[in-house]
Subunit: 382 residues, 2 copies
């Protein structure tokens, strides 16, 4: 009954520690780049992901603001959020809009400006529960550190087992012109990096940064009129978990990822073995590990081994973070999922440069809101 | 191609100046009331409107938080915003979700807690442009005062001509158990009320308050299994304007309302004459007046006359704010549009009590994000 939906345009701005552009310029630049990519001068709707503009830019009406600044006043513009997965939420709504038959050309975009002078940490922490988590000293870092400590203890893994997540991400970011960190790191650098909050080291954590990315979606049966190699959205699914980590039966199960993944495999009619590569939400290396397990690529307790064995490298069994991931391309929160999908599109078009995968027919992406609370899964195919 | 969509459940909590419940409890109570109304114990997705929780509740991941607190962990939950029209944005996304065939039972809900101890004014002002409006002293009140002053000057109207907007709203709120202000006011009280910022008086402005409301949407062809009198969504449309009022060709044209209205009339296949009643966004009486004009119910410059002549009363030609409107039922921002639609549903079911309209077959509702920047129009029918 639903219309099939395809992606026919992508736009990105380079991720930076401190962009010369403000929030609205970043958003506009990504939007204009996506329009140019699809040879369009307009879309019908903009669904915009952003998490932090309230506090960091004093700006709450961001979708209309960015639409107007991009010269698109008039169009539908809606701001969509799910904390750190806000970009994926925008993609989800754009998908629903086109699938519904109500919108022909939809843009899913994301923008985040974290360098505006206000510390982003308090605003980021608001992804957690203001009553039952934050007053007890929990932050995103503290929560992920506890998850990693619990994991190490339960499964007898070592912090060094996770180091290849960062090595892989940095190796791939070198060849991505939009990436923040374009330098290789070796295992020793990762393993001796500064402890942020044990067992998390600096290289276990994605950086604070600025960025924006945009995608154009249209009905699949019109896609080739905009784009030579459209990318099909085979599945779009979302699930949530019990809000606070400590209230879950098993904090390491990442139940929402398991559930959203199972629904997405069902919608796409595929199994994990059919996935050629996986753009996951490596905001923390423990989160990457748990996603590999919850998505069915590794046994529980063994996700780290796919990194340790090099299976996640571009030449491995299941490449992840093929253009640098959140860790090294950067994690401009509300834009991150749009970067992930834009990179998948480049891989499927054969435009991924030195990181071009030999098999890039089917990809999965995950985005994580909060500490595993909201998980978006999209499966794409060329 | 789209599925037809119907509303089969509504839930509201009483609007209060200071609720005894917190953000999550308000949201849960509205959700549980809507579930009970439709005799359901679960939906597939929650699209939640909220504007101010970031600053006022220190909480950014509100859709998942409210879903979890309502016992719905697992479901899709997405936070949807368009500043002061955030509730309508949630309804729009819920409509798209069901129309797409991807979601069977969707909840559109809204919650706002403004009494938490932090002044809401700075956060509310962030509906405007942080670069080109707020630094020049503009607030939502200042902007609406200027619009009203410009209107009075251009059309030779008088502030007293607007007084019946408040009289009507308060008259109708008396009979609404969920309304904040359940007392009549007369013209003299309105016209002698405190000047907030000339020409705006106290009774030209909707109050700061707490509230939550929820709707359940499903495919129209399944609606009668949940509800005796389902309400059909005949049209759902959104348009934006150039962001800042001073940059528009004609600040009094409310161009986004005209455009979204025209699109909605087209989708529904009706004209203004077919609309039995109109739940509009009377956050300020000037905004109510401009909406009557932009939606085609009054000539430009004559919207106030529909109030002055009593045409907007429940017994008039085009009843508005039939359960009190934003002015007297209250304007808990992210929930307001859901209250509007819930009230339309009650009218169409014949459950509007003393305010029951004699003709309630077709209704329009508008919600305004910012100073006329984003306008949502929904047309409903029984």
């Amino acid at each position: 009954m639903s219309r099939q939906v395809a992606i026919v345009g992508v736009g990105m701005v380079p991720v930076r520690k401190q962009s010369a552009d403000g929030l609205r310029q970043l958003g506009r630049n990504a939007i204009l780049a996506a329009l140019e990519d699809a040879a369009l001068d307009r879309v019908d709707a903009l669904y915009l992901g952003n998490m932090l503009a309230d506090e960091l830019s004093g700006q709450k009406h961001v979708a209309a603001l960015v639409a107007s600044h991009a010269g698109l006043a008039g169009i539908e513009a809606i701001h969509v959020r799910a904390a750190t997965a806000s970009g994926a939420a925008a993609l989800r709504v754009a998908y629903l809009a086109v699938a519904s038959g109500q919108v022909e050309l939809a843009m899913a975009a994301g923008v985040e400006l974290m360098s505006g002078g206000v510390s982003p940490t308090p605003a980021l922490t608001r992804a957690l529960d203001a009553k039952h988590e934050i007053p007890y000293g929990l932050t995103m870092i503290e929560t992920n550190a506890r998850l990693m400590a619990l994991y190490l203890e339960r499964y007898g893994a070592h912090p060094e087992d996770f180091a290849n997540f960062a090595v892989n991400a940095h190796r791939n970011a070198v060849n991505n012109p939009y990436a923040l960190f374009r330098k290789r790191v070796d295992l020793e650098t990762v393993n001796s990096s500064r402890l942020i909050r044990a067992p998390l080291r600096l290289y276990d954590c994605a950086p604070i940064c600025d960025g924006a990315a945009a995608l154009i979606l249209c009905p699949a049966d019109r896609a080739t009129s905009f784009c030579e190699t459209p990318v099909q959205i085979l599945a779009s699914k979302v699930a949530t978990d019990v809000f606070a980590v400590q209230d879950r039966d098993d904090p390491l199960a990442l139940e929402a990822a398991r559930q959203a993944g199972a629904l997405a495999y069902g919608q796409a009619g595929i199994s994990p073995a059919d996935v050629d590569f996986f753009e996951l939400h490596d905001a923390f290396s423990i989160m990457a590990c748990l996603q590999l397990e919850a998505a069915g690529f590794a046994e529980r307790g063994r996700g780290w081994q796919m990194a340790a064995d090099g299976e996640v490298f571009c030449e491995g069994r299941l490449p992840i973070s093929t253009m640098g991931g959140l860790k090294a391309r950067g994690h401009p929160i509300g834009a991150s999922a749009l970067y992930q999908v834009a990179e998948i599109v480049l891989q499927m078009r054969g435009q991924a440069g030195a990181n071009q995968l030999s098999r890039a027919d089917v990809a999965m992406t995950q985005s994580v809101g909060g500490a595993g609370t909201t998980i978006f899964v999209h499966i794409l195919a060329r």
